[in-house]
């Protein structure tokens, strides 16, 4: 089953148009990457029903929104790129507020996570560091006990240690196989590690959706001092530097002199994949 099934979702915002179809498998982590302005945040907002004018359909754990509003809104939780509440309030006030809104809010879990990550309850969220704020937002989302968790840039701008904690919280959430995670990020290193699927967005469209392991196994990253005709034919997203060429290829055993071949990382795949699109 799919945690999210997005069909012909269309949102128009000034000159920008989102036109997305995407199946996000349940029980898995899907990473959403794309350049700034590609429409990642718009897509996440649309899934959270925060876009006023949208067409197309979204199924949540198989349920359409219409007629299941209450159930779905308690199923989904989101961590936006910046806090969606008054940061001048103390953390405990915000928690109290969330507890009132969400009947399912798990106070016990909240207390233990706040303690685990040493987040002071009596401090204003504004006075938290960026890493603390991100962790606080994620804790608030997790304590709503959702089955679908959406994350918009959960790990950007924070140090590797805090990023590790956030990745761990996400994986903890995934211990339940009925859960689904969709997260957008520029930190592709996190995706290299924990993502099961990768979706690439460009100009409001989903350009590619594939299982991460399969994707990285299908392609090779090649570095070579000069391009032969044969290499050129197979090359995807060629980048030239003073010392030669770097590109992707589907040929798992490319041949040439002084050639270096390895599996790409998500970042390398992304750069050359987009490079190829731009050249077209």
């Amino acid at each position: 089953m799919n945690g999210l099934e997005i069909n012909d979702l269309s949102v128009t915002f000034k000159t920008f148009r989102l036109d997305a179809t995407l199946q996000v498998p349940q029980g898995c982590i899907t990473g959403l990457i794309g350049r700034n302005g590609a429409g990642k945040s718009t897509l996440i907002k649309a899934i959270m029903r925060q876009q006023e004018e949208m067409s197309g359909s979204i199924l949540y754990d198989g349920l359409p929104f219409k007629g299941n509003e209450r159930e779905i809104l308690s199923k989904i939780a989101c961590v936006f790129d910046s806090p969606h509440f008054n940061v001048f309030c103390k953390a405990e006030i915000i928690i109290k507020f969330y507890r009132k809104i969400f009947s399912s809010f798990d106070m016990e879990l909240c207390r233990s996570l706040m303690e685990q990550f040493s987040l002071p309850l009596k401090q204003r969220v504004r006075d938290y560091s960026l890493g603390m704020q991100k962790k606080f937002c994620l804790i608030l989302a997790l304590c709503q006990k959702p089955s679908i968790l959406l994350l918009d840039e959960p790990t950007s701008g924070i140090d590797p240690y805090d990023r590790g904690s956030i990745v761990e919280l996400i994986q903890q959430f995934m211990l339940d196989e009925t859960h689904t995670v969709l997260f957008s990020t520029h930190i592709t290193e996190d995706l290299d590690k924990i993502a099961d699927y990768i979706a690439i967005m460009q100009e409001g469209k989903i350009d590619l959706f594939e299982q991460k392991d399969a994707l990285l196994e299908e392609y090779r990253l090649v570095q070579c001092p000069y391009l032969t005709e044969k290499l050129q034919e197979e090359a995807i997203g060629v980048r030239k530097s003073m010392f030669g060429y770097t590109f992707l290829t589907k040929n798992r055993e490319p041949e040439g002199e002084d050639i270096l071949v390895k599996s790409p990382t998500v970042e390398e795949f992304f750069i050359h994949f987009l490079g190829e699109e731009e050249q077209k």
């Binding site: 029980g27 898995c28 982590i29 990745v167 761990e168 994986q171 903890q172 995934m174 211990l175 196989e177 590690k193 924990i194 993502a195 099961d196 699927y197 299982q211 991460k212 392991d213 196994e217 599996s263």
Partner: protein, 127 residues
């Protein structure tokens, strides 16, 4: 069970498979012993769930592990003949790839056999 992963050492699922296999052969993992769930393995190693599943699925297909729905994944019983049979299969695989190399590089079957015997004799003398 213990597993350490290196980003430089090839694909993650192969590293896991290799290490679990080695621990079963060495007796460190005992028949009937329960392994962590796929999701726990993914979390503890900070890897994808599908990657963890792939490693277990491959080992189940090989007969090294077996899964009981709703219970978990366990180390399979190994009989001596099976162990030997497994190793023979592996050897056949290795020799097949050597033979393929010979064919592709114009080495005749006679030359191939000659080299094969030379190697066998050498090792025999050494031991």
């Amino acid at each position: 069970m213990h597993i350490h992963l290196s980003l430089q050492a090839g694909s993650i699922y192969e590293q896991i498979e290799y290490q679990i296999r080695a621990q079963i052969y060495s007796g460190e993992l005992k028949p009937g012993e329960m392994l962590p769930s796929i999701r726990t393995l993914a979390k503890e190693l900070t890897i994808g769930i599908i990657t963890a599943k792939r490693a277990y699925d491959d080992l189940i297909a090989e007969g090294m592990l077996y899964s009981v729905p709703g219970k978990g994944v366990f180390v399979a019983e190994r009989r001596e003949e099976e162990l030997i049979q497994g190793k023979l299969e592996k050897l056949k695989e290795k020799l097949s790839s050597a033979k393929k190399f010979a064919d592709e590089n114009g080495i005749s079957p006679e030359q191939f056999q000659k080299i094969f015997w030379e190697i066998s004799e050498e090792n025999h003398e050494r031991s």
